[in-house]
């Protein structure tokens, strides 16, 4: 180095500088030996530095190489996002991910497009040749050719050894039970994103964020357990499919709710669809009538009216109302379907399903109190559950006496059937309103969520009325010996083009079982059932929804673990006696 400096620096200033540098390094008294030692030291220092750098890099490589080995395996599959399994309350699989190969191409690496198109269309006949050619001719680095091919097709294409054609394993959502749980569970789109039902709820609860971060590629460990019981769901659906065919109804829907926890154990809305083929869900006749539709529930609403009257204290079971004449209000006449033309007591109003009696009972409590009561029962606000689908109830804007009269027997207020079930469950379970859920819930959690809406004695009296209605009322055909069913029927005239139809009805039936110690509430709903010879031309609920409800109870009660108790006394002794004792 100094030699180069010497040759370059001729001028005296440079020479002087060199002398100064030398004086700094070696001091003024320098000899050649000291100079040599200093140079050796410098060389050692340089080499140590170089080796230190090499050593550090080696350690760094040593640490990094481990991770690259792991990564190497994951490349090649898993790009579509994984979803957790969905199980029913007994651990049966409702939805799971299965790996399926998908075919892709890297057009830039293709050699002969014509050959590729020819060979691929030979193996995959449903692939459109012109579209395929277009895709392969594009300048993009990556194009999907076909998602979800069979293993045989994969083997065939692999054997052709086309360059630039490859496979990726993707997660595909499968629903082994087909249409059984369709509306409840919803479905996913081609990229495994939930777009309906509980699948969408899953995405809204953390899964979407995981997808964004690219973390949800491997199989997720924790399955989601729903409250639904697949066996009960199947029994309900089977009976409803039969009923819909028998009564030639437009639609049939049913729901089973645990009245003590608010868990929805089964929910069926027929016609439904197969979530494996989500295109079917687009058909508007296949909507979920229990949560996306609002209906006038008919006489089932009398349960609310009578409960309100009893709970207010102004009316007792002994009270009676005049039902001798149709109730005249302005230009409207309110008639009874099962007209008795006499003074009716509260139990008679309930069992004969008297519109006049219910209307008079509601008027006795008052318009404002009626509105406040229904608000308290959650019938006037939109009900939110885990399902993304929900509908707002149609509440009259100006709520006058006429509205109270009609709403007292279930016309003039349209609610989601699920909402009505929630309210009736509160009337049955001792007076606690519990928001319904599709997820598992313990009685403790339910107790924390529940709100007292009516007195326990009122609930007891309502159960008595429900049971009485099956023993000697409109719901006689629902009786299944041993299960002590209580129930209320409802028949609502359908609104066609803004007018009440004379012939088309919506019938429903709510059954509580067992009526003395309620555990489950069942709803059966038929849209536009047709008269049959064996129904003697009637289309009211007692002739169609009620026998279906009885058939459903006979099938699901053993599955729900309800022990049949034969030889139970009638409602007066079994339920009403305990009410009197507690007073």
């Amino acid at each position: 180095m100094s030699a180069i400096a010497e040759t370059l620096s001729i001028r005296t200033t440079v020479l002087w500088r060199r002398g100064a540098a030398r004086r700094l390094l070696y001091g003024t008294e320098t000899d050649r030996g000291a100079k040599a030692r200093a140079r050796v030291k410098l060389a050692i220092l340089a080499f140590v530095a170089v080796y230190a750098v090499i050593a550090v890099r080696l350690v760094a490589f040593g640490i990094a190489s481990d991770r690259s080995a792991v990564h190497r395996v994951i490349v090649g599959d898993a790009i579509a996002t994984a979803r957790p399994d969905i199980l029913d309350r007994n651990g049966e699989v409702l939805a799971t991910d299965v790996r399926v190969p998908s075919l892709y191409a890297e057009p830039r690496r293709l050699i002969d497009i014509d050959e590729a198109v020819e060979l691929l269309t030979a193996d995959l006949p449903d692939l459109d040749a012109t579209e395929l050619r277009e895709r392969l001719s594009s300048k993009r680095g990556f194009v999907w050719l076909k998602r979800d091919i069979s293993p045989e097709q994969q083997r065939e294409i692999y054997r052709q050894g086309l360059p630039g054609i490859g496979f990726l394993n993707e997660n595909k959502r499968t629903y082994p039970n087909g249409p059984e749980v369709s509306h409840l569970i919803g479905h996913v789109d081609i990229d495994n994103q939930g777009i309906a039902g509980m699948e969408k709820w899953l995405d809204g609860h953390g899964l979407a964020a995981l997808h964004m971060a690219g973390l949800a590629t491997d199989r997720l460990q924790n399955p989601v357990e729903l409250a639904v019981d697949l066996r009960v769901q199947h029994a309900l659906r089977d009976e409803l499919v039969n009923a819909r065919a028998k009564y030639k109804a437009l639609a049939a829907a049913g729901l089973v709710l645990d009245v003590n926890t608010g868990e929805i154990v089964a929910m069926v809305s027929e016609p439904d669809y197969d979530p494996n083929n989500p295109r079917e869900a687009l058909d508007p006749s296949r909507i979920n009538r229990l949560t996306t539709g609002v209906y006038e529930m008919g006489s089932t609403f009398k349960a609310f009216t009578i409960a309100m009257a009893l709970d207010s204290g102004k009316v007792t079971l002994k009270s009676s109302f005049d039902a001798r004449m149709p109730l005249r209000f302005g230009r409207f006449d309110i008639h009874d379907f099962h007209a008795q033309n006499r003074v009716l007591t509260i139990p008679e109003i309930f069992t004969y399903s008297s519109n006049i009696g219910a209307a008079r009972a509601a008027l006795a409590v008052g318009v404002d109190a009626h509105k406040a009561f229904l608000k308290k029962m959650g019938q006037l606000d939109r009900l939110r559950t885990e399902l993304p689908e929900s509908a707002e109830p149609i509440v009259p804007k100006r709520w006058g006496e006429l509205n109270t009269i009609t709403i007292a027997f279930g016309h003039g207020l349209s609610v989601e059937p699920l909402q009505a079930v929630m309210g009736v469950a509160a009337l049955m379970n001792g007076g606690i309103l519990i928001p319904p859920t599709f997820l598992k819930r313990t009685p403790q959690e339910a107790a924390a969520l529940g709100q007292r809406v009516i007195k326990p004695e009122t609930s007891e009296m309502m159960r008595y009325l429900m049971r009485l209605n099956v023993e000697k009322g409109t719901a006689e055909k629902a009786e299944v010996p041993g299960y002590y069913i209580g129930g209320k029927t409802g028949t609502a005239d359908k609104v066609i083009n803004g007018r009440y139809s004379k012939t088309k009805v919506l019938t429903d039936f709510m059954a509580v079982l067992p009526a003395d110690k309620p555990r489950y509430l069942l709803l059966v709903m038929l849209d536009d059932p047709q008269p049959l010879p064996e129904t003697h031309g009637f289309t009211t609920s007692g002739w169609n929804a009620v026998p279906v409800g009885g058939a459903v109870v006979a099938r699901i009660a053993p599955l729900l673990g309800i022990e049949p108790r034969l030889d139970l006394p009638n409602a007066d002794q079994q339920i009403l006696a305990s009410v009197k004792e507690s007073r």
């Binding site: 190489s65 395996v73 799971t96 039970n177 087909g178 299960y483 006979a554 009660a557 049949p564």
Partner: protein, 152 residues
């Protein structure tokens, strides 16, 4: 001289250390590759389990089972009257004397009050004594009071 020996020793150590480090490194690479391979195998197994579970779910679907049962079995829906509670079960009958001996059947026969009172055809006394063990062995141990009547 000592310095040279020291140098040689140090060089020897260096070679040994290098060899040792190389072995560790090599082993760890092998292990890492095994881990990666096992991991991918676990993934494949999990995927196969999921596929099998999906298939099981399909085969176990209540609608399918119902269709099969309807076609091949003469079973009917259960009636509420077919249920009973454990409380309604009658008490277990008291075992006949001698049933707790090591040879229960022999014990019962020996303790029988009258060996001939089975449901068998009555025969003269000596022959019945010889036939009794056979009949008693085939039938459940008879209660002396209940058994004799229909046969005689």
């Amino acid at each position: 001289m000592t310095l040279r020996i020291l140098n040689l020793v140090v060089i020897g150590f260096l070679v040994l250390a290098a060899a040792y480090v190389y072995r560790i490194k090599f082993d760890s690479t092998v292990q890492a590759e095994r881990v990666a391979k096992l991991r991918s195998e676990v993934r494949h197994e999990r995927d196969r389990i999921a596929a099998l579970r999906a298939e099981w779910g399909q085969l176990d679907n209540p609608a399918r089972i119902q269709a099969l049962a309807k076609r091949y079995l003469a079973l009917k829906t259960i009636e509420p009257t077919q249920f009973d509670t454990f409380d309604a079960l009658p008490d277990r009958p008291t075992p006949p004397p001698g049933a707790d001996s090591p040879d229960p059947i022999g014990g019962v026969i020996e303790n029988m009050v009258e060996p001939g009172t089975t449901g068998s055809i009555p025969t003269p006394a000596p022959a019945s004594a010889a036939a009794a063990p056979v009949t008693a062995g085939n039938n459940p141990p008879p209660k002396p009071a209940a058994a004799g009547a229909p046969g005689q």
